[in-house]
Structure formats: C-alpha cells, structure tokens
Symmetry: C3
Subunit: 348 residues, 3 copies
Amino acid sequence: MTTRTCRTFQTAPAAVPKDDTAKYLRSGLTAEGFQAPDWLVPDLEDGTAPDMKAEGLENVCELLPDFEFPGEIWPRVQWSYDDETVRAQGREEIDTLVRDVGDDIDGVVVPKVGRQGDVQRALEAVASAEADHGHPEGSIGLSVIVETARARSDLREIARLRTDPGGERLTALVFGPVDYTAELGGRDLGDGRPRWDGLLEALSNEASAGDLLAIGGPFDDLFAERAGVTVYNADGYADQVEREARIGLDGSWSLYPKQTIQANRIHTPTPAELERDVDKIERFNAAKVEGTGAVTIDGQMVDEATFKNFRNTVETVRAIHRTRPEQTDELYDEGLLERALELELSYR
Amino acid sequence: MTTRTCRTFQTAPAAVPKDDTAKYLRSGLTAEGFQAPDWLVPDLEDGTAPDMKAEGLENVCELLPDFEFPGEIWPRVQWSYDDETVRAQGREEIDTLVRDVGDDIDGVVVPKVGRQGDVQRALEAVASAEADHGHPEGSIGLSVIVETARARSDLREIARLRTDPGGERLTALVFGPVDYTAELGGRDLGDGRPRWDGLLEALSNEASAGDLLAIGGPFDDLFAERAGVTVYNADGYADQVEREARIGLDGSWSLYPKQTIQANRIHTPTPAELERDVDKIERFNAAKVEGTGAVTIDGQMVDEATFKNFRNTVETVRAIHRTRPEQTDELYDEGLLERALELELSYR
Amino acid sequence: MTTRTCRTFQTAPAAVPKDDTAKYLRSGLTAEGFQAPDWLVPDLEDGTAPDMKAEGLENVCELLPDFEFPGEIWPRVQWSYDDETVRAQGREEIDTLVRDVGDDIDGVVVPKVGRQGDVQRALEAVASAEADHGHPEGSIGLSVIVETARARSDLREIARLRTDPGGERLTALVFGPVDYTAELGGRDLGDGRPRWDGLLEALSNEASAGDLLAIGGPFDDLFAERAGVTVYNADGYADQVEREARIGLDGSWSLYPKQTIQANRIHTPTPAELERDVDKIERFNAAKVEGTGAVTIDGQMVDEATFKNFRNTVETVRAIHRTRPEQTDELYDEGLLERALELELSYR
C-alpha cells in the first residue's frame, strides 16, 4: 500500500503508421470517465516500430504541453541491461524528454533492467538529465519493468535502492511477463503463458517493503474469436486483474481503452466490498465502547490487524474520490459514499 | 524438521471484559487431551483491549505459577518495527514477565517485527531482561511473527540470526496473515484473503535451514452460518492446517479449543499414514538384506531419501508419545504403536 | 534458456545385485531414438547400495571408454554438506573418475550441497582433481542437486558462483524433491508430496540469470496398479514434466527408459507448437515490411518480446536437430521442419 494512485498503467505507442501518427497517444490523453488511465505511458520502446522512434519522441514532446491530463505521464524509453548501444539511445531519449517536457512528465519508465547495478545506472541517467536541465532534484521519477531473470533475482536489492541517496525517485516496479517468459525459456503448451505467481507475490512484497507501487504486466490476448465472431476478451483480462488486486498489486497494465475501464473498476472497491467494510467498521466502533480488544462480527474475530484491512478499503475509496470524484459518484450510492467519507478510522 | 514440538500455537487473550478477566487464559492452562495446546500464548497484544493490557499482564504473572502446564508457555507482547513508543511498552512487558515469571515461561513472542535489525533489537531486549533478573543466558526464548513486508523481505537474514552469538534463543517463525495482507494492500474479493503460498513455502524452508520451528497463521472465520444456524467452521480450518502440514510447517495457530483439537490431530500422523510408513520401513528393512541400494515397493522406488520421509513419520509419533502418551494411545491401535516404537530406523 | 541441451537427465545405478551388475548403466549407454537421454548420470549415490559402491565405480571406469555415447556423461558421486566422512568419499570418487575417465565424462553431479560455501568446496574438489590429472582448466563440469533447505536459501548466491573465478564449470541446478521434502518435514497426506512450486520458479529464474541449466526432480511413482494390473504411470510423469517445461526448466529427471521417451518428447516443441510459432514469425516477417512496431496476429499483439518467445521454439528445434536429427525427422513433417530451419529469425 502506498498513498500514490496507479490503478491503471496504460501504454500507448508514441507513433504508429497512420495518417495521424500520434493517434493512440492523443486518445489516451483525452480519455474520460473510467476510460481515463491513472498513468499514461507514451511508449517509445516495443510499441513503436524501430523506424518511427524519432517521430514518436517528437509526438510526445509536441503533444504533452497541449493537454491538461489529470493523471500522471510516464514515457517508456529504450534500455537493455546487456546492450550499451540501446542504453545510449535510452539516455538520449531521457535527456530529450526532460529537456523538452520535463514539467509535463512525472517520470520515465525504463524496461529490461538487469541487476541492482543496472538500475543504479538508470537512476543516474535520470539524475543527470534532471540536473542538466535545471529541474529540482528528485522531481523526475523512475519506474522499472521487471522482465529479466537478473532483475527478479535482485528484486529485493533493487527495491531497497529507494532508501539510498538519489534513490527516492524510484516509484514503481512493473512486471513484464512476455520478455520474462522468453528469457526463462517458458513454454505455452496450449493454455497460455505461465502465471509466475511467485514473482508476483514477491513484487507485491518488495514494493510494500520499499514504499513503491507494484503494477502487473500486460495481457495481450485482447480478442477472442468464436464461430466467426471476434469479441473483446473481457473475462481473460478481468481474471488477471482480479488476481493482481487480490495479492496487493496497486494497479494493472492496460493496452487498450476497454482494459483501462476494467482495471480502474477492479482496483476500485466494489459497492458490496465498501458496504461490507464500512458496516464492519461501524459495528466495531460501536463494540469498542464496551472495551474489548477483539470482537466477533458475523463469526469473524476483529482485532487491530483485521481492522486495518477494512480501513484500507475506505482509504482507497477516499483517495480515488479526491482525484476522480466522477468515478466514485457514478459507482456508489450517495448514502454509502457519505458514510465512507465520514467514518472514524482510528482503531483506538 | 526440528526436534521441538509445537503442533499448536494457541493464543488466549490475557484479559477480557468478563467477571473473570483471565477466563480464556485459565481455560487454556487447564485444557486436556487433544484440546491441550503444545504452546499456550497468553496474548498481551491484539487480543487484549488497550485499556485492559495492565490487567492482562497481572493475570499472566499471577496465574502461571499456579499451574503445571505440560506444554510450553510463550506470552505475546507488544512491538512495532516503526513505532518506538510501542517497542518501549514491549520492552517493559518483557522485563516484567522475565522478572516475575521467568521460570514459568519458555520465551516471548514478538509481533510486527521489521527487517533483520529490528529482530536484533528484540533479541537484545530479551537478553537484557534475562541478564537483569539473573536467568541463565539463552534460557528465555524469542519467537517472532512474520507479518510485515520488511520481515518477509529479510526472512532469510532473520532466520540466520540464530547462528549469530546471542541468536540461539530464536525459536520459531510464525506467520501473521492479517497484518501482512493489510500491509501489502491485499484484497478479499469475496473468496477470502490471499493464501500467500510463496511466503509459506519460504517460511518452511528458512525455518528448516536455521533449525527453527515454522508455524502457520490464525484462521479467523471461526463460524459459518447456514439458514439461520451457526456452526463451527471445521472444514475451513482443517483445509488450512492440512496445507500447512503438507509443506512442512511444524504447527498451526489456534484461536479456539476446537481448532486446537484439529491442529493437534492433523499434525499427528494418521493411523493410515503411520501404518503405511511403518509397513514400508519393515519391508525395506527386509529388502536391504539382499543388498540393493534402491528397491521398488508398491511401484515406488525407495532409496535413502525416500526412507527419510518414512522415518520422519515414525519419529514424529515417537516425540508426541513421549510428551502426550494419552493422545497416541487414543489414536493408534496398540499393535501399530508398538511396531512404530520398536522399528529399526537406520538406513544402513 | 541456455544453448546447452539437457532435456533428459537419466540416472542409472552404477551397480545392481544382478549377474551383470552394470546392466542399467549399459542399457543407458546403448539406448536409441527418443529413449536415448541427453545426459546419462551413472549413479554412485542413493541408487547404488552401500556395499556395491566400489563395484559401481569400477563399472563406470571400465564401461565408459567402450561406448560412443552421443549425449553427455555426468556421474553422480556421494556428498553431504553436514558430513565430512561422506564428502571425503565424494572427493575420492571425483578423483578416481577424473583420473580414469576424465576424457569420457563431461562433469560430475554433486548431491546434498548446503549453502554457497559448501558448493565452493565442491568446485574446489573438481578443480583439484582436474589439475592433478592434467586436464584443461574448466574441462570437467559441476552440477549440483538442490535438495536441502540451505541450498534453497542460498540459491541466488550459488547460481552467482558461476561468474566467480573458477565458477565457470558450474553447469546445472537440479532439483531433489525427496530429500528436500524430508528435510523440511513435508507430509504426504494421501495426495503425494508437495510440488514446491515456489522453489521450481526460483530454480528456473536463478538458472537463467546465471546461464545455467535448470532440471526438475525425479518422479518415483513409476507404476500404478488398477484392479490387479500394474501399468506404467504415464500420466503422472507427463503432468510433472509439462509443468516443468511450462516454467522454463530445460529438462527433467528420468529414472526409467519410458520416462526418457516422455521427457525428450515434452521438452521438444510439438508439431502444433512449431507450426504455430513458425506461422506467426512468417506472418510477422511479412507485416514488418509495413513498418509497424507491434502488429496484431489472431487477436494477439506481437512485439519484440512476443517475438522472442516464438523464436525460442524454433531455436530449440534447431538445436535438437543438430544433435538428434533422427528425432526431429521422426517428429515433424518434412515441409514444416524445412520452414523452421530456413526462417529469418532477426526481429529488425
């Protein structure tokens, strides 16, 4: 749990071979309601073709100043722990972004990092661009994609960089399952890629231990075909996002506006969940007057630890309500929302 | 596997708002048969209300000298890796316990520990109380509850403290799922809290690598309601304890006498299991006369490694028989128990 | 993913109490087709009875020079992280093997290693035998069996030994579930041993991070009985090997020729898998002419990361075709194999 909100990490190719090469970038910047991502990630890496990367960078630098995007902007640049040529391109992209739109971005996303030392290199690249172009120290964040065996091996050490001098800019750990599966030699035997449950549990833990955000990986089976009709694969994506929410990932990766709707919704407590936890806190608050440390409500013992879980639900709703009141107003009954906003949340 | 027995880690609030504030403590101390826990944990932390903690401490200090509890006694004190005020209360509780009932307790349980350095602080708090009140060095144990992201992150390093000077008093690693889930921001989407399988596997491993006990977390859905009738949730708890036993946890947390019965039973080999493994060892002992390193029994190859698993079963039964002969006598046929006690257990 | 091939790690007792004590060793050395293992592991440890170990060592030294085995030969010697007597026997066995058949073996397999320091001792034992008998530095490999809590705890550190001076000979990390389960006190409650999914995922990751092979553990429920008829347990073993293949283990342990057939088959891409991935690469190669970074094929987005997974399939087939053309010729249509061998595999 961190106080920063990133229910949705939506990547958009920075340039595509269409009349308007910035089409997807523009539609991400102007999305509304539950379709608006918390983080928009203009993608200069795998989503943009090699021969369109220069145009992609131009698109990002030209468009960002024109929009008042209510969430955060985190361009993804090129990087590779084992290829200095690619890292040099990444450093140039970081430098250009910080120089031209340093005030419009919250940070950069660096993929394919290796061990702790490679993440340190990325931290230094950002620090150096930040200093060169006169931005306040620490104002440009760094998020990394965990998608190599080396980064998984050093996950604990990478997360701990945040407490080092210069490491405060480290903000999110994002999973990259496709590269990761390729690097480990994982196989799809007809039932999809491995889920990497162990990695995801560790990602959630190390992010929480280091006060970082933890974000799930992309789901690329966007559409399913049945007897000649192609439909959006709503079940497949929702199943993945629910698994991620359950183990405490803060947000999910979106490749597509419908995915953004779903991830925003799933990472927002449901009305039933909010009702249940508001109710338990209200009943607990009444019971604590009687002075017992642990009370039983509906057959479940409630102590300070149980209480914290109920409080998480309410605090998440309050945070979303601050930045996206149109979403909470749409989702909850007025009466329930009011109870959630006014509830006493101290255990003692 | 350690030689110390803790099939059941039963917490009992040290004081509750009833006529007899020590009611649950007293009933834990006098439980009999399969209802008697291996470890009784008088709870001064979350199970006792803030305004009853002083009385809880008095209850513990007054009652313990009056009972001859056949298992071990491990009071749980207050602690917090990120709150020095709470730690100061914990140190005082440890000091009082060691001063007043140091001969009646086997150690203290410290919750909400953080990284390795915080566990070192807890080790020092116990060592200091022990020295101040003239107890032999190492006579007061320390068990910790793993329920923060930091403790999970440092699990390997925490377990290795046992081999440091002064670390020998470290005895058990106990899982605390409720606080842990709250800290990671895990969600109950209608099907319960996450199981944290990765953490439990690591807990079992690091405990075995460090010669520590590994104990599962509490199960707080004590009762289930069906069409107006409330019943004890026997299936839910037994499912959890069986999962814990399967992966080598030494014991399970109990909040309730019926849970203690179930956990004691599940962590004791079943008659069928004992019969099966005694039979395999007897047949292996016969086969080894013929001088083959690996023999096939019922389609399964048996070598020294397989043999160790069979031997674990028999040794667990022998250990329980030493401390709780009334339980083994009740559970097994006389003939089977006799075969288990007399079996030759050396592989060569 | 490493370039070295070990789909099958087949152990064969070095001596058994039969007229021909080298029976199983000989049959492993002469196996043909899909029954021929990639690695043959003459077993001087648990598979050979204590009083036949000397004869087992003789068998290995006598037989190896007589056969042209097309795969690799890796004898398993005795070892124990906590018993110097057993380690001394292991050092002697290593010395004898390197002296007598150093040119015929690819390395030795050392079981029951403990923490990183114990693996260093094993590396030194091999280095010393190699130097004493005039073999080129690094020519005799070392593979270790991960089957103790200490080795699991230090897995990351053990894998990193490969990058230390003298560590290059480290080749494979092999899982040993039977000893491991015994050491952790795991239980078979009627549904088999625990699967240790967390350990296997870590094994795959650390092996990939360290350019090592990762190999699954033995499956010892070789036969199943149904109404009086005993049959080979083909489903049980295949289920395990498929789980291992899915998460990127390079190969599986075989105890029996039928297991070798199955593991060789499962670790070889199926015709459908090869057809699917060849087709996707062909269509991607056509699409990339149009200059888009990510294209959608059958509803799945294909970028450089997705592409790597398809390429893995083709490269695995090419590697097997180089060493076992009789297997690839048998398995694939001529047309498909030709397409796989001729495909352009560069992403850009």
